[in-house]
Every structure is written in C-alpha cells, then in structure tokens.
Amino acid sequence: MKRQLKTGRLAAAAAAAAVLAAQSADLGRELSAPHAECSLFGPQRERFANGGLLAAQREAQALSAASTEAATALGPLPSRSRSGALQTPGSLGPLDDILFTAMRAAGVTPTEPTTDQEFLRRVTLDLTGRIPTAAELTAFLNDASPNKREALVERLLASPAWVDKWTMYFGDLFGNAARTAQVVRFPEGRNAFYRWIKASLQQNKPYDQMARELIAATGANSYEQGELNFLAGGFMGGGPIQDTFDRQAADTARTFLGIAHMDCLLCHDGRGHLDALSLWGRSFTRYQAWQFAGFFARTQLARVPVTQGRPNPYYWSVLNDAGRARTDYTLNTTTGNRPERQPRPGQARTVAPVYPFSGRGPNPGEPYRVALAREITSDFQFARAAVNYLWKQFFGLGFVEPPDQFDPARQDPNHPPADPWTLQPSNPQALERLAQDFVRSGYDLKALMREIVNSRVYQLSARTAGGWNPAWDRYYARHLVRRLDAEEIHDALITASGVGASYNIAGLGTVNWAMQFPETAGMPAPNRNNSGPGAVTAFLDSFLRGNRDDVPRSRETSLPQALDLLNDNFVLMRARASTPNSLLARSLGQPDDQLVTTLWVNVLSRFPTDAERAAALERLRSGGAGQRTRNAEDLLWVLYNKIDFMFNY
C-alpha cells in the first residue's frame, strides 16, 4: 500500500509542479482564512495532493485495462477446499458478493482460502489478542462440524480475552493515559476510564450508547465516573477556554465521525486549504466549525484537588453551565493556540451550536452535549467511521485511509460526487453495507466483528506465490499480514511457553497478561518486574505500542524488536528447559517426533511441514544424547523468532 501511494505521489507531484508556478501568483488571494499557527496547510501542498488523487485514479484505470485479459480468463472463485465451512459459492453473504464482484471487475485474482490452522490462529489473534493453545488447535482440527468456524467465532467473542483486547483498542482510540503532554488524569482517573471501557464491552453495550455516554458525560469526579475522562482529555491549559472547546470538538469529530479535518477547520475555512482533499471540507467554514465546537461551550472542565489546599493530585469535574462556561461560544480571543477568534462585521459575538450535517441545534432546554450526542449517533457517518476503524483492525487497511480522514461528501454510492471527484472509499458499497448492518444490529460491536470474520474475504490466505501487485491490496484480495502488537507478542510468549508473568498495577491489582494493562506508557512500572529494571517495559516498548498521546501505536518492524527477540531474557528464559513448568520442562521426555510436534503446535499453532519435521529431527538428534536438551532449546528459540510467530498471517 505504502509503495503504491508513493509511486502515485511521485507522478502526482510532477504533474502538480508544472502548474505550481502558474498558480502561485494567486496564492495570496486564495488564502481566504486567517492562517496562523497551523503548520500543516499551504495551498501549494493541497495542489500536490490533488495531483496525487488524480494520479492514483489514472494508475487504477491503467491497472484495470492491463488486466482485462486476466479478468475474462478468471474462472469461478476458489472454493474452500480444506475447510468444512462455506464450501458452496451460494453461501456468500452480501458483503462477500460486493467485494468479490469488485475483484472480478478489476481483474484481481484473490488468494486461496485459509486452511483451518491459518484461520484458527488469525481469528484468535484478531478477536482476542492471544494465540490458540495446543488443545484449542487439536479440538478445532478434529471438529468435523460444517459450522465449526462460525462456532469458533462465537466462542472467541464470548471469551474474557475478547474484552481485554478491545478494552486495549478502545483505550487507544479514546486516548486513555494517566498523563499526556496536556492533561493529567492521574492513575486513578485512568483506571476509572479503563474500567468504564471494560465494563461497557463486558455488557456488549451498543456503541452508540458508549458514544453518547462519553460525549454527554457530566459528573463531579473523574476518579469515580470513568466516562468523564474522555472530555477531560481535551483540556488545553494556559490559553482561553475556547482552546479547550476546540480540542474537545476536534477529538470528538475524529473519534466518532472519522473527521480529523475538523481540527484544521477550527483554525481556518476549508477554502484555500482543503480544496483538493475534501469536497465537504473545501466549502466548510471556520464559523461552522465554531458552531460544532459550540456544543462544548457550556461545559466546565475543572480540576478538583483531592485534598483541599494541595494542588496535586486532583480529579476532573465536567459540569454544564458552571464556572466560566455559562455562555455560548464567544468570539473574543486574540491569544491561545489557534488564530484569534473575532466576529466579522455584522456577526454576533457568540455562536450558537449547530450540528453541521443536519443543521439542527439543541432542543429547548436540552443540554448542549446531549444534543450533540444525539446528532452524532443518529448520523450515518457515525456508523461509517466506526465500521471503517474496526475494519482496519482486521484487514490492516480501511476502506477510507487514513481512517480519520473521511470526506463526508464522497461516501454515498447512490449519489456519487460530480466529476472530477470520485467516491472516497476503496469500496463504497461494502462500507455502506457494513455500516447499514451495524446500524440494524443496534450498533452491536460483536455482531459487526462476527460479520467481518465470518466473511470469505476475511478468510482469504495471506500467501501469494509472487507477482502480487500492491495495488490489489485495497481489493482485500489477499489478507495483509501484520506484526503482532506489543501486548500480543508478550502474551503469545506466555501462552506458548506456559511461563506466566505477574504485574501489580496500582489500583487494579495483579494482571497476568499485557493486554490487561490499563495503558501503554510505563507499563509495567519499570521497577516492578523480576528480570532487571525496566526490562519488560523496554521489551514491550520495542514493539511500538505508542503512548496514546503523541506517539501512535505502530505495527512497523524495527531493529530493537529483532535484538529483543534474539536476546531478551523475557524470550530466553522461556526457551530454557531449566525454567520450571516451561514447555520444554514439561515435554522433553517425549519421543523426538512427538516433541517436534509439541513445539510447533504450542508456539506456531500449527503442525510442522514434512520438511520442517525432518530438519527439526535432524537437529534434535545431532551431537548425541548429551546435546538433546540444548538442541531442543535451540529449536524452541528459533520458533520464537520465526516470522509466523511474530506475525499474524
């Protein structure tokens, strides 16, 4: 995907450069908005980006033309030969129909369906963040029922590990951290937020209800009401109160509507900035963004010291019509971290809240944020954004990329935008269908995930024999592999080795899985582990878990990851036969052939191939009986360092 984009942009920039000189004379005129702090935008860059868009379209057309022959030659879709499930083409669901039709139309050949082994490991990691145990693998392979994949999905969705994994995910999305560059929630506030997310998932609370509770939250104490901590994250100290309203508005738009451009628009009109990026954004004004931020204007965010007379620690209260927050959004600033907010001639000094996509404001007597929560969760864009964020978690690539850069004017497949604009999602029908299903299910997160992982497109193999065109990635014709997240690697090493870990988290007690950490920074506390100061924390950090503030989680690979998997004690001690209750301590007594199977099944969640078995046996038997233990340790260490251990494929 990345390579594809880069090539596109190169051509794009070349085209755009040609027009740059001609257009540069107009730049000043086109800067219709005050443009100060924001170091992001410049009209020239928008033009480059526009070029990028057009180039990408050209590339897609060329690709499609070149493969017309392949398309006509393409036979029926591969049937699921090695699995009991979904063998007949007729069992394709509507989502699969849409996606496979798009592949066929573009002449893209999908990969083979996954084997049972591949599917079990993939879906267990994706839904629960764990690898399957040997017992789960055996049971699944021995299950002859035609619906065993669906049954597995139900078991996983009902497991406590599902709650852990998605509590971590929504903690990332909602930015739950004890401390960011701007805001301190203290561990107590973070824990409360963590508990709120976790309880919501345990109850499978409808996602629109979660959103309403976060957006409309009011209460006196963020240590006791976890949901208050979402809006507390928008606090901007040291400036006018509008800085905070704007931050809360931008966070809300990004999180629940997938529209990060609201952040831009709170500084300046879209015209002259977003012209080439967003059909919606280019005509959106800063005034409209103020109307959106206006829903937060009567929200007082206050620090309340836990002990009177001592500034620290404190919790947050979020109250309506309190303190300085008793008026509508006021245009009266000349300082702060956004350009001055002043009325234009003839404009009133205050801005009443209006939801930009419906034109509605609060009902009489309705608290502003209750109205906003109502508007957002009844906006179809809310469903689209949620579905797209989650789709990316399962496929590595959203229909809209990046998933927080939605252009709401280019979504509806029944009303495509006028030329030269195109619909934004890579497959608008699929996104629309999933979002509709999500709404129909009552915003049921489990139902959405069920639909995704039971689809045939999710169950396509990641393996290709070569000759893959990266431009085909966006058809989801091949499953994209991903490196396991930091917590998943940590927990996979525990599952595989049987050697556990135990961490004490202040206020939460003992946790045994990294996926249960309430946040991603400084976990576990660097001096609270049994293998040297900070070792486990450093190990987890190597896998780029981010800090939920200015460092995003990443699934990139890196040099420290390789060094740690090769040499870190967290790995090495789990490869030793002398570690009590470890995999080898328990299985060294098995005959060679069985031992090899045990290692593969426990670590890689699959059986060895014949070639692997032969190589492993040769290693195990080399150097005589005195070498067997060391040979087994070598093998186990190798498996921990294998690509198919550290990746989900």
Binding site: L20, F48, T335, N337, P402, V481, D634
Partner: protein, 467 residues
C-alpha cells in the same frame, strides 16, 4: 500598539506571572507569512525519486554543510539563563559563589558554576536572542525536538529532527557500519520518527557500563550457540523471510535481523556502548556524563551514528533554585560531562565535524527570585549554545538588556528572535540538508515541510554562527 508590543508590556508589568500566556506567536508569524506569500513562490521540483520513490519539492537552499554529526543536548525543565549562559549579576540575589568572570565577547560567565567549561569558552557560540513559543513543558519540549508546533495538525505525525537527519543521511551509510544513525541517550520520552519508517526512529539507550541491552549472546550461551541458532533460524524460516509469500513487512523484519545480527557481539558495539569506571569518573560519574561519554565513543567508532540526542532533566527550579542541591549541583553535572565531551571530541579530531546544540525548552524568569519560593518560573526568553561543527566560538550572538528579559540586539540577519524552527533549520543546514525540502509522502497527503514555512523563507538558519 501591536500584539507583540502588548505582550511585552504585559511581561514587563508582570515578569513572574506569564504562565497563562501560552502562545504569543500567531500574530507576528502570520503577518510575516502573508508578507512572504505575497511575494510569490519560486522553487523547483526535484524530479528524482528518493528511496521508495517519494517526491520532494525544494526552494533550493544552500546548506552550510560544515558538520558530519550533531549532538543535541536537551536541558529538560528549562535552565535559568541569567544565572548561566546569559549571566546577569542581580545585586543581592545572585550568590557570590557563582564567581562571574569576564570572558571576552561572551561577557560575564559564572565560573563558580562551570569551572571546567570556563576553559572551553573558545568553542562556544551562545545565541542569546532565542525565544520560545510556549511555556508548557511537554509541549515546548516536543516543539524543540520536532521543530514545529506539536498542536498543529501535522505536529502529531512530525518526526524528530534526528529522524529527518537519519533519513537524509542514509545514502552516506557504508555497508560495514552497524550502529543506528539516530541515537537517543537518556531520552526515553524523545519524540519519535513521526510518520517516517521505524528504521529512522531514535534508538533509545540508557547508558550502562556493561554495554548495550540485548547485543551480547552471552545469555543465550555465547557466540557459538548464537551463530548456530541463527543458522538454524534461517534454515527453518527463510521460506518466510526471503522473497516472502507474506510480502514486504516480513522481508523488512528479516533485514532488521540482519542488522541486529551484525550488532550482536560486534566489538565496536561493546567498545562504544560500554565504559570503564575511570572514564565515567572523568565525565562526572553521572547518567548525563555517561551519555556524553557514550556520544564521544559512538562517534569515534564511525559506525554510522550521525545524530545523538541527550537529555539532562531537572532544571525546572521553581523553588530554592540556589540551594546547593539545585542549580549548583545540576550545573556541576553539566559542567563535568560537557567539558569532558568537548575536550575529548577535540583531541580526537571530532569536534570540528560535530555540531553540538544545547538548549532548554524555554527560559526562566529574571531579576529577583519568586517571593516565598525563591525560585524562577517559566519565561520565553532563553539561550542556545552551539559548539563544534565549524562554528566560530568564543562569542555571543544577540544581546539581551540588563535584566535579561528582552532582546536588545538580535545579532542575526533576520533581525528577529530565533525560534525552535530556526534552530532546526540551522541543524539541517550544518549537516548539508536542504531545510526547505517538502516531502510528499506524509499520511495527510499534503506535503511535509522539513521546516515549517521555510520554503517561504519565514524560518531559516543562523548563518552568523559560521561567520
């Protein structure tokens, strides 16, 4: 009266009560922005693809290209400038033990705080007209590391200066070199690679006498066992690593394994990242001293490291700043480490090719200490120390007034206060990097300017350092 004058009058009236003034920048820079925009844009398009085919645009600046390496020392917490590198003797306030002595163009220098640096003043160029944009620690600290406003939308994906350097200088790496290009010492919270690939991320190290974490095969059983295991790994895993059926990310991981394997047990790794007690003592026997020691050893090894960030925290002295355990103690740590670093780099012939940049995230209040707390609070006026890399030392650039609160002479051709964006441009220029470059591979698809607005010449390097 314009915004800027208003702001400064406010500061003058309430020198210790400026914390609520979060930013003062928009108005000045906006005007300048429009002015330069009005002049039109002249630039050229660099058609040649870089690694991976990214497109770039550049205004075609001519960098100084005088340095090969950079050591960026972040005085986290913000050091008091008028007690140190912009020394002002406040009658009845400044302790006599600071022992200021006149040092040529640098003027008064507190030899009591920095008895060792006193002998290195000929290497130092102190920019005293520097001014921060924000007075919030976390924000300003990130600001100086990424060279732009972190709360701007691109701030969230902007790479550390060191990551830009790592990417730019990658073509200069030799195949035999095994160290990462960008090393961050005592900087666990260093700004990351932003949207750049993880291979340009700061390689974060806490110096240990025993060397670099997880680069010894000893725990695995020694080099023999390690090599044996790696061979077995390739035997079993190459089908997934080489021309991987899983695609590029698996192949990328394999290339990191190749890099890691080259580092494990490499004598240069142990030599450069471990250290002796005697050397550590010579650098002051502190975490900062050890980082300086490592910086010198790593550069001397010439194994591909080009940008080193070192953090020395603890300067946020709101209370009892002159207590022996506060400014005097931390200054000694700095003095011991930095003086030894300058001395060693010089005698190794490395100083002339290594630019050292040292600054806090902002400055501290001037004049009398804060009532009751006896400390100094946050203040926008600050300093930056430059040394090495061909910089002409023994000088101050820019001059503040008698109190140290305001600039009297910018000492700079741009005739304004330098800001973090200008320091960023200076660093790129020193390393031969065109600071006006814009890359079109950012996730927003809008173009990432190395230095914001540099293409319009809003920000730019302090060339006076080399004059």
């Amino acid at each position: 009266m314009n915004e800027r004058e208003k702001f400064e009058r406010l500061i003058a009236r309430r020198p210790a009560a400026h914390a609520p003034l979060f930013f003062e920048r928009p108005h000045l820079s906006r005007r300048r922005f429009f002015r330069v925009l009005g002049a039109g844009v002249s630039g050229y398009y660099v058609g040649a693809p870089l690694r991976g085919g990214e497109a770039v645009w550049s205004a075609g600046a001519t960098p100084q290209n005088k340095a090969k390496n950079v050591i960026f020392i972040l005085l986290s917490g913000a050091m008091s400038q008028i007690d140190t590198f912009d020394f002002k003797n406040v009658a009845g306030v400044t302790p006599a033990s600071f022992a200021p002595e006149s040092a040529g163009d640098i003027g008064l220098f507190p030899t009591g705080l920095f008895p060792k640096l006193k002998d290195h003043l000929a290497e130092l160029a102190i920019v005293r007209s520097m001014r921060a944009y924000a007075l919030v620690h976390g924000l300003a600290r990130t600001w100086v590391q990424i060279g732009r406003n972190p709360t701007s939308a691109l701030g969230a994906v902007a790479p550390n200066l060191g990551s830009v350097v790592a990417l730019e200088l990658e073509p200069q790496r030799q195949p035999s070199q095994v160290f990462p290009t960008f090393l961050a010492l005592n900087s666990d919270d260093a700004a990351g690679p932003g949207y750049f690939s993880a291979k340009y991320a700061p390689f974060k190290v806490q110096p240990l006498a025993t060397g670099l974490r997880n680069t010894s095969s000893a725990a695995a059983g020694g080099p023999g066992v390690f090599a044996d295991r790696v061979n077995l790994l390739h035997l079993l895993d190459d089908p997934l690593r080489v021309q991987s059926p899983f695609g590029k990310s698996a192949e990328d991981m394999d290339s990191f394994y190749t890099q890691a394997r080259a580092m494990v047990d490499h004598p240069a790794v142990a030599q450069a990242f471990g250290f002796s007690t005697a050397d550590s003592q010579r650098y002051g026997n502190s975490a900062f001293g050890n980082a300086c020691l490592l910086a010198k050893q790593v550069l001397a090894a010439r194994q591909g490291t080009r940008y080193i960030q070192i953090t020395l925290g603890g300067w946020d002295m709101h209370q009892d700043i002159y207590d022996p355990g506060e400014l005097p103690a931390l200054s000694k740590t700095l003095d011991d480490g930095l003086a030894a670093l300058l001395g060693d780099l010089k005698s190794a012939g490395l100083l002339s090719e290594t630019l050292i940049v040292m600054q806090g995230e902002f400055g501290r209040t001037v004049g009398p200490l804060s009532a009751g707390d006896n400390g100094r609070d946050h203040f926008l006026q600050q300093f930056v120390v430059f040394a090495g890399g061909g910089v002409r030392g023994g000088r101050a650039i820019g001059r503040t007034d008698a109190t140290g609160a305001f600039v009297e002479d910018y000492g700079w051709s741009r005739n304004r206060e330098p800001h973090p964006e200008d320091v960023e441009a200076t660093i790129y220029s020193a390393l031969g990097i065109d600071w006006t470059k814009i890359r079109y591979d950012d996730p927003f698809g809008r173009g990432f300017e190395y230095v914001p607005y540099a293409k319009d010449d809003v920000y730019g390097p302090i060339n006076e350092l080399w004059a």
